[in-house]
Point group: C2
Chain length 343, copies 2
DNA sequence: TTGAAAGCGCTAACAA
DNA sequence: TTGTTAGCGCTTTCAA
């Protein structure tokens, strides 16, 4: 087999009797701007098409300093919340011609740090990060270096970069208020990892809602410790063992699973014995028993907002602070008026 | 602020009074091999650490022709099956020092094609693809070009590349046999898109299991058409309207959701009126009502096998044909002996 | 309207 | 044991 010539722009230029520069200009869509003749432009485009020649992006990136790629760092892509976020982000970025380098930080600062370094070394143009806990020193450092950065979901409070997130406290209030309205007063909650912004905020919202209703939330009504299902289940067990709660609000997706697991194992009747409003709407939320009243985060909008903010940053404009997106309550049948107490 | 010198190897070399080549060699771990003196090596490593200097990967890639990155193309990352696969793959590849470029093909050949082209243009070292339908002409083309390629889940039958997948037909047989054993004979199934290998195979397995039991599967017992939940629900409705089936096997994750949705809407009692064995174990499989008997695919093993196959390919070795991985039946309470028929 | 040339930062072959 | 050198293929500035 005769070796075909390398598919480089230089090659194409020689073949057409033109210069490398002209070819590069045309294929980068700058023909108009630089008044390349229509005829030359067509010739180049035709030939490029015919021989399937396109600029080598590595070379282009090395020269231009831009890679048209974005790093996406999330703590757990297997979590449907982040999976949907990743899907929407990839789509938005792809449409803007940018590629997505995906990194899963495994809810671990160390892994997150390594991945952030790796991505910077690969010269991504920007980063969208859902930080493990918002206190990774690399984030302010990157921001200071001028690397375009957008935080997602779990924000880093003191970081001067766009932070796309819902009003976590408000969302938790929404959940608690739905229960208060049905007459519940002894409402517990399952939390995730203390120190994680989104989680702290949700707990704050939970407390506020109770306080506003004139109820002093006992610290013992709040249990949890991390974002795993097993921890949530154990915490739920302790809450139920108190024998005083008529409702529980799991403040995260895995917590919801752990709680449901326990409810089923114990045979707790729901909502007769226990009402609940669960965080994160899922495709199956209406199919479990009982069908769950949930707090739905506007995932698609979050992804769009994050992508937009990053695009602005990359264009050298100031995206301004993104508004906190509102969550909504999806009412199903996991709430009832309190009657019996859990044994 | 005084502008710091660029963090290039050349710079570091000059600073240390050494040559660029020596620095490059050491930082690429080839010091031993090339008998660089221990003292020089330490000096270089120390300084590199101190000034946080690392090779520019773009330049390295341009020169070496390798990017240490892999393209991952899946039809739908929001589908938990692919989300978990993506997570496991990213981890395995990351540990081997390779970055993952993620692309979601939106179950669409056209998007898949665009993404494949884009990834090749970005010079990924290899690709792991769960093809939309295995008939994308770009796949054999890439394989012929020598681009390391591994197919995942949905294989492309005539493609001479490693194809990591479960025994789809066997898995479907497993599901049907579990129902036969309980005395069911009129068993329907919900299928996805005809022409997609995994789906065709599952349907084949379903037919075979019935045939082996001496039952002629009526074509009318097989309904579906694509991988969406809505289609599945409509198909399930038609199946139930026949009034003769005592069990249904949804052959994919979304089909399971569509079927459960209908069951709930119609108030079908399950498993009393209708038994089911559902494809794809999920975190919530045991929490819906009824708790689902499922076919669990070995997702983690699949990811590991695909990553391994690709690593072999990238090392220039022949990974050999990967064995078909076995699925297993997880028994819960969505099966009972057939009693009443659905109205 | 097009061309020439410099150089992005590195790896790898070859010299010393 | 280390240094010299030639590109990888492109973008961009300046010149024609």
């Amino acid at each position: 087999m005769p070796k075909s010539p390398p598919r480089t722009l230089q090659n194409l230029a020689t073949h057409l009797g033109l210069s490398l520069a002209t070819v590069s200009l045309v294929l980068n869509g700058r023909a108009r701007e630089l008044r390349i003749s229509a005829r030359t432009e067509t010739r180049i485009r035709r030939a490029a098409e015919r021989y399937a020649i396109a600029p080598n992006r590595l070379a282009a990136s090395l020269r231009s300093g831009r890679t048209a790629s974005v790093g996406l760092v999330v703590p757990d892509v297997a979590n449907p919340f982040f999976a949907v976020l990743a899907q929407q982000l990839e789509r938005a970025l792809r449409r803007a011609g940018r590629a997505v380098l995906l990194a899963d930080s495994e809810e671990t600062l160390e892994v997150e740090t390594r991945s952030l370094r790796e991505l910077r070394q690969r010269r991504v143009d920007g980063l969208i990060v859902a930080p493990v806990d918002g206190r990774n020193p690399l984030l302010p450092q990157f921001a200071a270096e001028g690397l375009p950065l957008v935080c997602l979901d779990r924000v880093a409070p003191d970081l001067a970069v766009p932070q796309v997130t819902i009003d976590h406290a408000g969302a938790a209030r929404l959940a608690v208020e739905a229960l208060l309205q049905q007459g519940h007063r002894r409402i517990g909650c399952l939390r995730g990892t203390p120190g994680v912004f989104s989680d702290d905020e949700r707990v704050r919202g939970y407390r506020e809602a109770l306080a506003t209703a004139g109820i002093a939330a006992a610290d013992a009504w709040i249990d949890g410790g991390d974002f795993t299902r097993a921890t949530a289940r154990a915490a739920a067990e302790r809450l139920l063992d108190r024998g005083e709660l008529t409702a529980i609000v799991p403040l995260a997706g895995q917590a919801t699973l752990g709680l449901l697991e326990l409810i089923r194992a114990r045979g707790v009747r729901c909502p007769e014995q226990l009402s609940l409003v669960a965080f994160d709407e899922q495709p199956w939320s209406g199919l479990v028993s009982p069908p769950l009243t949930t707090i739905a985060q506007p995932v698609a909008e979050m992804a769009q907002a994050a992508a937009n903010a990053l695009h602005e940053l990359l264009a050298g404009r100031d995206p301004g602070p993104p508004g906190r997106l509102p969550s909504r309550l999806i009412v199903r049948s996991s709430i009832a008026r309190p009657r019996e107490l859990v044994a």
